[in-house]
Structures are given as structure tokens and as C-alpha cells.
Symmetry: C2
Subunit: 242 residues, 2 copies
Amino acid sequence: MQTGNTYDFRVEPQDVDFTLHATVTSMCNAILNTAGVDAQRNGLGVDALSRKNRSWVLSRLAVEFDRLPEQYTPYSIRTWVNDDGRLVSLRNFMLTDGDGNVFGRVASQWCMIDFERRTPVDLREIADVYLPLMSEEPSPCDRPRKVRAAEPQCTFEHRVVYSDIDFNRHVNTMRYIDMMFDMLPIETFAEPRPLRLDVQFIKESRYGQTLTVGLERQGDISLFEIRSDDGVAVCRASVEWR
Amino acid sequence: MQTGNTYDFRVEPQDVDFTLHATVTSMCNAILNTAGVDAQRNGLGVDALSRKNRSWVLSRLAVEFDRLPEQYTPYSIRTWVNDDGRLVSLRNFMLTDGDGNVFGRVASQWCMIDFERRTPVDLREIADVYLPLMSEEPSPCDRPRKVRAAEPQCTFEHRVVYSDIDFNRHVNTMRYIDMMFDMLPIETFAEPRPLRLDVQFIKESRYGQTLTVGLERQGDISLFEIRSDDGVAVCRASVEWR
């Protein structure tokens, strides 16, 4: 049985790279927007939570793409929640093209935080709206993995600028993914391969900081780590090319 | 009489900055996508032109915003063409909010180029489809101005990476606008003012080049110039804060 809600999209010109296929960043953008819209529809959007001084924070993300769709391709994203843990909400996504073929699977972990203390809050606090959403349907892929620290073979410095930041003045999730993929040789994108991406968001980074993006490549695995000025890891990720 | 075609939009979460208002870049993105969709609808899209070895290239852009709309605001863009010059096509846009109030006006100049020679082609070549589109309606703002060379008070270097480039492996128009606005102090955005932006696209820049973005501020005018490795200006712009 299919659970959750389904939202329709199309790959727009601004979503594609030089191969005319959607970028991983643009697909992640669509996925996270879907999370926001679906939470709002269920009375759990950031607008509703903010009235209680609460907000959602993405802590881990796992995405698997068999392929990336071409420009103007219609596709849909179905999303459902299936874990009633006390501190972590697990939101899943399935991406399907116009012919009904699944090409992407996503599992994401979110915490509800106290906006002032910046600490996770027990989800039983919103049990009345949250628990009825629980689905029996399992996640479509393995849960997001913990990513080990990279031992970078190359690094790149990036000063956080206006166009990187979101409404909180924190670096936008998509920009982290851009910064990491920008470290890869351009040929990586010329011949796309199926991939699994695991991202672990550790700490926020802010306007004016200088980030160092490190890359370690080991065979079919690319490991990334983004550190802030003070040497603290703010984000880690691994890409497994399949 | 209203001419041209109208397209509907909404300010999405990825379009706003920390003030929760749309960024200039996101509005320009919507404007240029509208140009592409409307040209296609009229049989003059890049897909149709490419069969004749032709393409559209944006040479100049002028945008005026009285204000920038807030997140989730619905708005519409009306576009029309009103100049039958031989080498430059003038495409206009009017941006209107859900209450029917105009908040943005745009005039843009495009050349049709020979894809291999990279030189402008006489528009009479496509007179049969192009001329019937001509409107009597004047442009909603002054035509894009030639921008003088800046004498930069500060500069910033930017290496062109994967996430900067478009389907041609050239730097995306939006990234130029991001690079320029990123030079401004963050307070500029905290208290938005009406503005007019003139951009002059001079030369393409490519993956792997290092660009130098220069800013000269003179009262209510900010002048920008982006130069490539070889010192050649690839893009100039001025912002007039009103």
C-alpha cells in the first residue's frame, strides 16, 4: 500500500548541468522543499512549530539516484514518515518519473529543536499531530549513515557570502552539497553513474566565516568534510559511485 | 491594451534571503525562464533555433524593483517584444503581485547568434515568426544602459566551478549577479530599497577560469566589473539605489 502524499515536479532549465540532466543539488532542493510543504500540510510546518518556539533541523540525509532525469522531465516525489522515535523523525521519499519508474530513494533524519536553546526536544510533545502520520511502509533505502572524518587529499577555501545563506543567516544545505560536488573533477559529471550520497549536518556555519572543504577519494568512494575557521567539522558526506 | 503573455509564479523558500524577501537573483531567474518559455511558445525557442544552428544570447538586462516580494507571495510576469531592429531583439517584462500592483519592470536585449561563428545574425532571417510578435506597447522602463568600466575599491577572486556553469559550460547569468551582490555589505540587504540594475554581458567565461569581481561605490550607485584571468571584462553592471 502506498502511503504519504505525492507532489509533482518538472526538471526546469535552472536545475540542469552541462549534460542537460538535473544536478544532485537541484534534486535535493526539490526533496527538502517537499518535506517543508508536506509538514505544513500536516500541521507540522516550521510556521506552526515556531509559535511554540520549535523548529525542524535536518541532521542526516541519504539519497540514492539510479539516474538523474533530463531537462523538462516530469517527475513526482512521494513522502512519508515511518519512525516514532523520541528524538529523531525519519522522513522518506520516493522519486518516480512520468512512466512510473522509480529513479530515486531518500531517507532523512530530522530533530525538532528548541529555537533558543538549540537543543533537541522530545517528539512526544507534538504526539497528537505527529503520531497519526506514522506509516507502516518501510524506508526505501538504508538509513543515513554516520560518515567518518575524511583525510583530505585536496582542499578548497570558501568564504561564506550573502548568496550562500538562508533565512537564519546559516549556510544553506544546498550550498554545502554544491561546495562538495564542486571539488570533484568535471569528468565525474560528464558520464553520470548511479550514486548514494550520505550527508551528516553537524553544526551551523555563518555569514563571514571561511570554510575549508576537504576531499578524500578512495576508489568508488568520495569522502567530504567541511570545516569552519576554528577547525570544527560542520558537515561530512560520502558519495558512493555504483 | 495589454499585449504579450502572462505567466504565474510564487516566491518559494529557495528564492528568499534572510529577510524572507525574494533575492534579485531569484527574480532574474524567473524573468529569464519566462523569456525562454515564451520564446518556445512562439516557435522561437532555443530548441527551434538550434535546428538552424542559431541561438539566443542575452546581451543587456535592465531591471527595476520597487520592492521585492515576500516568501509565498504569488506574482505574475507579463512579457512582450516591441522592437523590430535588425540585430537586437528587445523583450520586456512587467511583474505584478496578487493584488494587481506592479512591483517590477524589465527590458532586455537579445542577439540571435550563429552557434559556430558566435556572431550576431540578422533577425530578418526569422521574420515570418518574429515580426508577428511585435507589440506597439512601449517598454516599461528605460532600455538597458551601457555601463562604464569600474575603478574597483575592492575585489574578490572566484574560481569558476561546476555549480557555476550552464549547459554550455559557460558561467550562468544568475551566478554573475550573485557574485556581484555578494560584494556588497550584508546591511545592504537588511533594509531593502527600490533599485535599478543594468547588466552588460560582454564575453562568456568558462569552467576553470579565475574571475576577479571588482566593486566601486559612489553614493547611491554601485558599479561592478568581472574580469577573467586574462584581464578582459566579461560582465559589467551598475545598481542604482533609489
